[in-house]
Structures are given as C-alpha cells and as structure tokens.
C-alpha cells in the first residue's frame, strides 16, 4: 500500500501546487502555470514510486492524466458554474427568479464573460468591437467536433 499512499501524496501536492500557481486567478487564465505544477510533481514522483511503491511510469502517467482531467473538470466547474453560483446566492436569502438572474448578471454576466474571453486570448478588442482570435476559432472547431 506504500505505492497508493505515495500516489495520494503526489496528487495532494499537485492540487496544492496548482492553487499556489493560480494565486487566485481564474483557471482559464492560469492553465499554463497549473500544467507546469502537475508536470513537475509527476516527474518528481516517478522515481520514488518506481523504487518504493512498485508503480511503473506507464501506470503513473495513465493515472496522472485521468487525475488531472478530473481535477480540471471539477475545479473549472466549481469556478464557472452558474447553477452553483445561484445556489450560493440563494443561501443568503430567498429571491424572486428575476432578482436572482439580475443579481447574477450584475456580477458574473455578459461583461464578465466577455472580459474572461479577452483575458484568455480567445477574443481581441479593436475600436470598441470584439473579434475572435485564431485561438478562439481553433477552440470552437474542437468544441464542434466533440460536443
């Protein structure tokens, strides 16, 4: 079971490292830094796991990819989910549905989403107009193939 404990410790280290790398920024903005954190922990874990945990590099890499994908999905969902945000808002007090939408839109609505797309390099602004970048179009192409 030493191997499993070492893997769990490495996973915890990667998740803590990710939060430190993000430094409070959004996942979409700091994804590069997060990938570096996960890669560094993976590389550091290879030898101890092979030597003391009887877990080879292929098994660890397969596990690591799945763990990263799951962490990314959950982390990103918690950060961006409209439903969870509305639930959080309703914890404070009951509201009419119109008020919930209004309150959500004021803080996390259209303007906030546009700003996030801009920060993520998916759109660019020129002369007060938003246009999609090559990166944005590439993402849309991938999305249309996988949706």
């Amino acid at each position: 079971m030493t191997g499993l404990l070492l893997v769990a410790a490495a996973l915890l280290a990667a998740m803590i490292g990710s939060e430190l790398a993000l430094r409070g920024t959004k996942l979409q903005t700091g994804l590069g830094r997060v990938l570096v954190a996960w890669t560094v922990v993976w590389a550091a874990a290879l030898y101890p796991l092979l030597h003391y945990g009887a877990i080879g590099p292929i098994a660890l890499t397969l596990f690591w990819g799945g763990a990263f994908l799951s962490w990314f999905g959950v982390r990103s969902h918690v950060e961006s989910s409209i439903l969870l945000r509305m639930l959080y808002m309703l914890r404070k007090q009951p509201m009419t549905e119109a008020r919930v939408v209004e309150s959500y839109s004021a803080h996390f609505g259209h303007a906030s989403r546009i700003a996030e797309l801009l920060r993520g390099g998916m759109t660019t602004e020129s002369g007060g107009r938003q246009t999609i970048t090559t990166k944005g179009r590439a993402i849309l192409r991938i999305v249309s193939k996988l949706r």
Partner: protein
C-alpha cells in the same frame, strides 16, 4: 524472471527477491491492456455523444480491464494495478465533465454567437439554470413567488461555500 512470472510467483519471498524495477519488463501485458483500455475510452468519448450511454460503456471498459487482468496481478504488490484501475475511472469521469462543459458552457456559446455574428445575449442561458435548480430539487418556489433552497439545496450550498473557500474563489 519475466514480468508475468514475477506477477504470478506463488511465494512472497520469490516475488520480492529483487527490486521491483529489475523484475519488470519495460511494458508488460498489464500496461499494454491499460493503454488499450484508455484508447477505447477515448474512442467511446468521441463517438458516443449520449451521456448515459458514454457513462455505461466507459464504466464497462474500466471494470472489464479490472476483471480481465485480476488473474495477472501479484496480490502482494497490487498497487500498480489499483492505480491503473483508478486512473481509468478518473479518465471516464474527467471526460464526462469535459462533455458536460462542452454542451453547457455559456462562455463557449457566447464565443460561438460572436463567431456567427449573432446577438450576444446570455440572459436566456442564465435563466435556464433556474429551471435546472428546480428540476434537481435544489430550490422550490414559495407562495410569494420567491425561490428558496430545499434541504438538499442547503446541503449542496454548504459544500459549494466550502469549495469556494478552498479554491479561493471570489464569493
């Protein structure tokens, strides 16, 4: 000692006589099958767009791998096999979330509307989540027209608050 012999050795002494890295072939059948199972999960993710069907098939692959390889596992050193099985389940779950994000993401829909030159209105998308909250029995509408959390909704709300705090997300 080849990889299969090491895995099926009957005595613990024999199985642990050499360091693990010396006993192992670079890539034995356990690993080949794991890579094949992962490839199959990725193919299923690409071709099966219905979420319940994807979930069922990918789960069958992960459990099928576990069942098919259990006889090859050296039960004195099961960590690697367990890590692979958990890894396959992580891939299935992670890809499920990715599919949900691709289908439901308001930001991606906004980007697609901008690309198509359509009006960039996301209020309908946002309002649709209120309906989802009722469907999932997280909220109920009171007599005065206000929405309030159900017991289940309050529980999920506490979990969300804790996650916002752990992830340092602006509350």
């Amino acid at each position: 000692m080849d990889a299969l012999t090491a895995r099926t050795a009957h005595t613990p002494v024999e199985a642990h006589a050499e360091p693990y890295r010396l006993r192992r072939a670079p890539m034995d059948s356990l690993n080949w099958l794991a890579v094949a199972a992962l490839a199959l999960i990725l193919v299923i993710f690409y071709f099966v767009r219905k979420i319940p069907a994807y979930l069922a098939l990918s789960f069958v692959v992960a459990v099928g791998y576990a069942g098919a390889t259990a006889a090859q596992v050296d039960w004195h050193l099961p960590s690697e096999w367990m890590v692979i099985v958990i890894g396959l389940l992580f891939w299935s779950f992670g890809l499920l979330i990715v599919r949900l994000m691709l289908v439901r993401s308001v930001s991606l829909r906004l980007l697609a509307r901008m690309d198509g030159g359509e009006q960039e209105n996301i209020v309908e998308d946002i309002a649709g989540r209120l309906h989802d909250m009722r469907s999932f029995r997280l909220t109920r509408v009171q007599g005065d027209g206000t929405s309030m959390l159900t017991g289940w909704g309050r529980f999920v709300g506490v979990v969300v608050a804790a996650l916002y705090s752990v992830f340092r997300i602006e509350a």
